[in-house]
């Protein structure tokens, strides 16, 4: 959870100038809330997204299918995006390290696009959602075991 907080902190700092004052000592997202929930973070911010909807979905090895669990998270993300119509997002597609570099770049792009397709199908204008792949270049968890790989195979919705 600490790592996850560090990952979003960068985006959060960039947003600080155009959102409400961050709470000092915030200990990171407390996990996804229910649909329509609100958080103690700046409305429309990355941390608000992470806390109220969940900012990421996970994938099986070498797959880009959206699981039913992922579908629920994206449903909440679409609700959140509808609440903040001026927010646009970039979907980051990531893979685990157990593939070749170039193939993983393509797989990350395919995952990011799969997330985007769901959000668009749920009514978010495609122009508000862009994609980028990092392949295996930016793992969330720096360890070489199956649990870490599962955390690293992800699509992360990041507020622009």
């Amino acid at each position: 959870m600490l790592l996850r907080f560090i990952a979003v902190a960068g985006a959060f700092l960039m947003l600080a100038a155009c959102s409400s004052t961050p709470e000092p000592g915030a200990s990171g997202p407390g996990g996804p809330g229910g649909p329509g929930g609100s958080s103690r973070f700046g409305p429309g911010s990355q941390q608000d997204l992470a806390a109220t909807a969940g900012d990421r979905v996970f994938f099986a090895y070498d797959r880009s299918d959206i699981s039913s669990e992922a579908q629920q998270i994206l449903q909440r993300q679409s609700g959140w995006l509808k609440r903040y119509p001026n927010v646009s997002v970039t979907i980051e597609g990531h893979t685990d390290e157990r593939g070749t570099r170039e193939y993983n770049l393509a797989l990350g792009e395919r995952r990011a696009q799969a997330v985007k397709n769901v959000l668009v199908a749920l009514g978010i204008p495609a122009a508000r959602v862009s994609t980028i792949s990092y392949g295996k270049e930016r793992p969330e968890v720096p360890h070489s075991d199956d649990q870490s790989y599962a955390q690293n195979r992800r699509g992360v919705t990041t507020v622009n």
Partner: protein
């Protein structure tokens, strides 16, 4: 920058004339290494310090012998003898006393000299001797600027390699690769270049932008690679002569996995659109883009055959990652990999006879080779992660990167026979190597 260019630019090297000192004697049947055999007993070779006057000449003469020894020794085909065992002091400039060299079991002997010319440049002469037959096999002289003496050493090592094995060497070459540092979650990756033996190491990018998969142009003057500098991962081109560094083609979407055509006129690469990744080709400096593959699969890591007629690539169109060959204009697609597991990063040998690849099977990674029709698959090495083979220009040695579990990646070379695996010395973690053609 000016200083860099004088080091980087191959064209700036004043490698004046190769002067044949003596016509090589008729080939002696006994002094030859047959490198097509699986296991080769390395040939004992004596390489005493090159003769020179005092001061810098003497130092360079000794350094030349050391670099030539290191090159030939690294091939696994030669065993340079310990200079402390030498009986004759050829630095005095006289001809070889063959008996003295036979006594220490030398089969081949390299002698040479360094002289400073009137214009301040070095003139380096060398001779290769068959100690048993007591005859000269090769003799050349080279003139070069003083700072380029290492290239002369590599060129001489290539001459010895060629004269003894019958095949071109690969010592006068460079490696471009990705230098890595920092924690995995925010790894810093920089474009870096060095001589084949790790000397003259330099960084070409500052690490601010993520960069991946560099490849040399056939002239070794340009490097194409992937950079995130613009925000969108795209194909870039770095000109070693001018230092100019720019994205190519202004193509929308992610473009990656670039590689030059054998004649240097085109770039072949992957482009992702709406989740599908196809192979495209365009002019090496942008323009004239056309699409070579279609469909929703992932088609990536294209590599031309040396005659430019075919392209081998990696696709999951059949359900899992496999290797395919197609005509260079697109079409005629045939699957060539049929073993268990997944196959990626195919690279056509400069000789045209083999395709090297990365294979993933049963939780392990392998580097292997197969013929262009998919037959004769051989796996050369295996580890937790081994990936991204690149060919030495003579098609006899592969370089790749290897990573033990929980460790950073490093570069290694391995002989086509699967023997002589060696780590390539880099200042830090290293991945994505690409071997240049011979620099001449």
């Amino acid at each position: 920058m000016k200083q860099d260019r004088s080091v980087l630019g191959v064209t700036w090297l004043a490698l004046a004339a190769l002067l044949l000192l003596l016509a090589p004697a008729p080939a002696s049947a006994e002094l030859r290494i047959d490198i097509t055999r699986g296991k080769v007993e390395p040939m004992p070779i004596a390489i005493p310090a090159f003769a020179g006057g005092g001061g810098e000449e003497g130092k360079v003469g000794s350094d030349l012998a050391q670099v030539i020894s290191a090159d030939l020794g690294s091939s696994g085909l030669f065993r340079p003898l310990d200079p402390r065992s030498f009986i004759q002091n050829v630095a005095a400039g006289e001809g070889p006393r063959f008996g003295d060299w036979r006594q220490i079991s030398a089969q081949a002997l390299v002698t040479g000299s360094v002289q400073t010319q009137g214009d301040g440049r070095f003139r380096v002469e060398f001779r290769l001797w068959d100690v048993v037959a007591e005859q000269q096999l090769a003799g050349f002289a080279y003139t070069t600027t003083r700072q380029n003496w290492r290239r002369i050493a590599h060129i001489i090592a290539d001459q010895v390699y060629k004269r003894i094995t019958g095949e071109d060497g690969y010592f006068d070459t460079r490696i471009v690769y990705i230098a890595e540092s920092g924690p995995a979650q925010k790894r810093v990756k920089r474009l870096a270049m060095m001589d084949q033996d790790g000397a003259n190491h330099q960084y070409l990018t500052d690490g601010k932008a993520l960069v991946l998969t560099p490849r040399f142009s056939p002239s070794a003057q340009e490097i194409t690679y992937l950079s995130y500098a613009s925000g969108t991962p795209s194909v870039y081109l770095y000109n070693l002569d001018t230092g100019q560094n720019r994205s190519v083609g202004n193509v929308p979407g992610m473009t990656f996995a670039p590689r030059f055509s054998p004649d240097g006129s085109r770039l072949i690469f992957s482009r992702s659109e709406n989740g599908a990744t196809n192979i495209y080709v365009m002019g090496a400096h942008g323009g004239g883009m056309s699409r070579l593959t279609e469909g929703n699969s992932i088609d990536t890591t294209p590599s031309y055959s040396p005659d430019g007629a075919k392209i081998v690539f990696n696709s999951d169109r059949g359900g899992s990652q496999q290797l395919y060959v197609m005509d260079s204009g697109g079409g005629g697609i045939k699957r060539i990999s049929f073993g268990n597991g997944k196959y990626g990063t195919p690279v056509w040998s400069p000789r045209g006879d083999l395709i090297a690849f990365t294979k993933i099977e049963g939780g392990s990674f392998y580097i292997g080779v197969m013929r262009p029709d998919g037959s004769g698959e051989r796996l050369l090495t295996q580890d937790f992660l081994v990936e991204g083979p690149t060919w030495a220009p003579n098609g006899r040695v592969l370089m790749y990167f290897s990573q033990a579990r929980g460790r950073g990646p490093r570069l290694y070379t391995i002989d086509l026979t699967g023997s002589n695996q060696r780590e390539v010395t880099t200042p830090g973690d290293a991945s994505d190597p690409a071997w240049s053609p011979l620099l001449r």
